[in-house]
């Protein structure tokens, strides 16, 4: 993919779907407060996830044979961004739809696909991601968690950290070493496993974030036995597989719509307390948002056509996180919060402000993404 981000012609079918999703959300979210909505991407609600599944909107692009909808990547894109724009609590099913399902479909055995994918699509099971470790963040290849081959399966020891939603989900797809570490080739000898979070020896410990909320966890494996059929793909090929998975992670609308409800609230405040400055800033944010949407849409379209999107997702996530982080900073400067008597807005502000440092850390830090972009520039693609 070049750095051009082209977009296909607008399809009327997408508009129909857009309206359908909007109507669905209007009904489903009727009772939610604005500050609950602001949590959208960090909103866990199994009942809601099942309603989404019932509409066929989890695994929309997967084969029907495995409970999918065989719809287009662009239809999925439209559905996703409508969810985020409305502040729907999508967190439980998001990672499964985005990466665990596609990973299993492309690398899983027939038995694995049948076992997990239809239940993912029905929102009966939810997946989390086990990559980061205490000594392996940006430098993921430094991970130490180790699986040792035994009769009929593997014994896993080690610690995963920052695992979002592990306490609410059913399975983890994790990356670990299946061979001793080779200092000359740190990427070798890794493998991916799907692990039932109820496995004996597996312990989930809450980690509170700076707001005192519990979203992520430490997951400790102590002599956990997983059967042979939990290995995903090829033993030793885990690094490459995991990197392919990450490519799905960086270009979606969640990379710039985390603060969508706050933007909407800013528009409300600007009509309640009109000022030229607020009008101008809202105009600028709108221009950025429209641009980011087209970039993200373009990547979704390229992926749908099977085009290698390379670094395109890194552009979206880098620009997206700068944009999202600017919104609470701008809000406080525009609407002197010490004087603002508007509890709805302040509730939204508290959440977004406190969540904002994470926008440029999870899914690849800003510096790492910029390193990736720069290498692609130098290589000329």
């Amino acid at each position: 993919m070049s750095f051009a981000f082209s977009v296909p012609p607008r399809s009327p079918a997408l508009n129909e779907l857009r309206i359908e999703v909007r109507e669905f959300l209007q009904e489903q979210l009727a009772g939610m407060s604005i500050s609950q909505r602001a949590h959208s991407w960090h909103g866990f609600n199994a009942g809601f996830s099942r309603q989404v599944a019932a509409k066929g909107w989890i695994g929309m692009v997967w084969p029907k044979q495995y409970g999918g909808g065989e719809r287009s990547g662009l239809e999925r894109y439209v559905m996703l961004e409508e969810m985020l724009a409305a502040g729907a609590p999508v967190s439980l099913h998001w990672t499964g739809d985005r990466q665990s399902g596609p990973l299993l479909l492309s690398l899983g055995t027939e038995a694995q696909k049948q076992k997990y994918v239809p239940r993912l699509a029905k929102a009966e099971i939810f997946f989390c991601i086990g990559l980061s470790e205490p000594d392996a963040g940006s430098d993921l290849a430094n991970l130490r968690t180790r699986a040792v081959k035994v009769d009929g399966g593997w014994i896993i020891n080690g610690t995963k950290v920052w695992t979002t939603g592990a306490h609410l989900k059913h399975y983890m797809i994790m990356l670990c070493r299946t061979q001793a570490r080779d200092e000359t080739n740190r990427h070798a000898g890794m493998s991916q496993f799907v692990v039932d979070l109820a496995t004996p020896g597996l312990q989930i410990r809450p980690i509170q974030n700076l707001a005192g909320e519990h979203y992520f966890n430490e997951v400790v494996f102590t002599d956990c036995f997983v059967a042979d059929d939990c290995l995903i793909g090829t033993e030793g090929n885990g690094w490459k597989q995991a990197m392919g998975e990450l490519a799905l992670e960086r270009s979606g609308p969640e990379r710039f719509l985390t603060a969508a409800i706050m933007l909407q609230e800013l528009v409300r405040l600007a009509s309640k307390y009109p000022s030229q400055r607020a009008t101008i800033e809202i105009g600028k944010l709108s221009a950025q948002l429209a641009t980011l949407r087209r970039m993200s849409f373009s990547v979704a379209s390229a992926m749908q056509q099977g085009i290698d999107v390379g670094t395109a997702g890194s552009f979206v996530k880098d620009l997206g996180s700068v944009f999202e982080q600017s919104i609470p900073d701008l809000a406080r400067d525009l609407f002197d919060l010490g004087e603002l008597d508007d509890e709805d807005f302040l509730g939204v502000f508290r959440y977004v402000m406190l969540a904002s440092p994470s926008f440029s850390i999870y899914g690849g830090t800003r510096e790492i993404l910029r390193g990736i972009i720069s290498k692609a520039l130098v290589a000329g693609h």
Binding site: F3, A4, S11, V267, S286, A290, T291, F297, E367, G371
Partner: protein
């Protein structure tokens, strides 16, 4: 719909390829420098004329290509990439306007106006035709164009007039990039009745200003690509601390931001072209957003492109300034960020917070 899209895309690709070749062959660094010193690039201009680009929007029966603006305007981005020192987009748009109302379109450099928002220009009917008074400011190449297509509010409604700049008192200045920007003062200048026509219903008083904003956005999108490419190239060639600059993390981070801004600006411009192609009722917002986004990118990217080059980029010898001085000029022509952002913001606020997202989805043409 898709067939039509493909056909259109094919035509656009053909036009872009041939424009690219023309500028690559005939718009070198020396051409740009010479133009700044006052030498008109005859060969470049004549070739653009022969290729039909300049009269692309003139109806076929009047000798033009009769294209849709969305098909030819992408070549303005290419002109921007090469810092083409000619009123390329201006001539295309002026030809479009004159052609639309059936006025003759000379095969020569043209301009349109007013290009400022507080024009004092007046056009009033007299026995001999029309009387033109007031000032046209900032007219690109206003001292050497043959005609200026002027849009002017009169007591009888909006009029399009074909004006000869030689009838004005001219004050020549240049923008930061050395491109001529000329103020033209008219005092009781008589314009023949045959040179003035009523504007068609779809053309409003701000139509030319919007087109101007789109032209500058396109040119900036192109200049950003050049600035990015120069920085990528230079940092791969220059050795410091025993390795190319681009192996240094701080340099890499700057390149990535420069590339991100370039990509975003180009996407914003695509959005505006898309709106234009579809005849979207939100075209004005899409153009406004494109200008906001390219202006913002120009600020960040020009700084980083220079930073990546060190002193050589500050020299006249190196061509980086052909791109950056134009970025600094063009971002202030046809409205800065604040001007357009206030317009977009007001539209958003008037629509109300519940309508914010629907408006965003429409404006981005997705």
């Amino acid at each position: 719909m898709t067939d039509h899209f493909d056909e259109r895309l094919q035509q656009q690709t053909m036009l872009a390829d041939s424009a690219d070749k023309c500028f690559a062959d005939l718009c070198s660094k020396d051409t740009v420098n010479a133009a700044e010193a006052g030498q008109w690039p005859t060969q470049l201009w004549d070739t653009l004329t022969d290729l039909g680009f300049l009269s692309a929007l003139v109806p076929e029966q009047a000798g033009g290509l009769g294209l849709h603006p969305a098909d030819i305007l992408p070549t303005v981005r290419i002109a921007g990439r090469y810092a083409a020192p000619v009123p390329y987009g201006e001539t295309i748009i002026a030809g479009w306007l004159l052609g639309r109302v059936g006025l003759p379109v000379p095969q020569a450099p043209l301009a349109f106006g007013p290009v400022d928002r507080n024009s004092t220009l007046t056009l009033s009917p007299t026995a001999q035709g029309w009387l033109l008074n007031g000032r046209l400011r900032q007219i690109p190449w206003g001292n050497s164009v043959e005609r200026i297509a002027v849009l002017c509010e009169t007591a009888d409604g909006l009029r399009v007039a074909s004006i000869d700049p030689k009838n004005a008192t001219q004050s020549v200045t240049t923008n930061l990039a050395g491109e001529p920007r000329v103020a033209l003062d008219f005092t009781d200048t008589i314009i023949a009745g045959t040179d003035v026509k009523p504007a068609p219903a779809d053309i409003q008083a701000n139509t030319l200003y919007l087109y101007g904003a789109l032209l500058r956005s396109l040119q900036m999108a192109g200049a950003l690509i050049t600035a990015r490419d120069l920085a990528v190239q230079y940092t791969s060639e220059r050795i410091a601390f025993g390795k190319p600059l681009n192996r240094l993390q701080a340099v890499q981070q700057n390149l990535a931001v420069l590339a991100g801004q370039t990509a975003a600006a180009n996407v914003a411009v695509d959005m505006a072209l898309d709106a234009l192609a579809q005849g979207s009722p939100d075209t004005d917002i899409a153009i406004a957003m494109a200008k906001i986004r390219t202006n913002a990118a120009a600020e960040i990217a020009a700084r980083l492109a220079h930073q990546s080059h060190g002193a050589i980029g500050f020299s006249h010898e190196h061509p980086l300034h052909h791109a950056t001085r134009r970025l600094w000029s063009w971002r202030d022509e046809f409205g800065n960020e604040a001007y357009w952002a206030e317009r977009v913001g007001q539209r958003v606020i008037d629509a109300g917070s519940e309508e914010f997202w629907p408006l965003m989805t429409r404006a981005a043409q997705l």
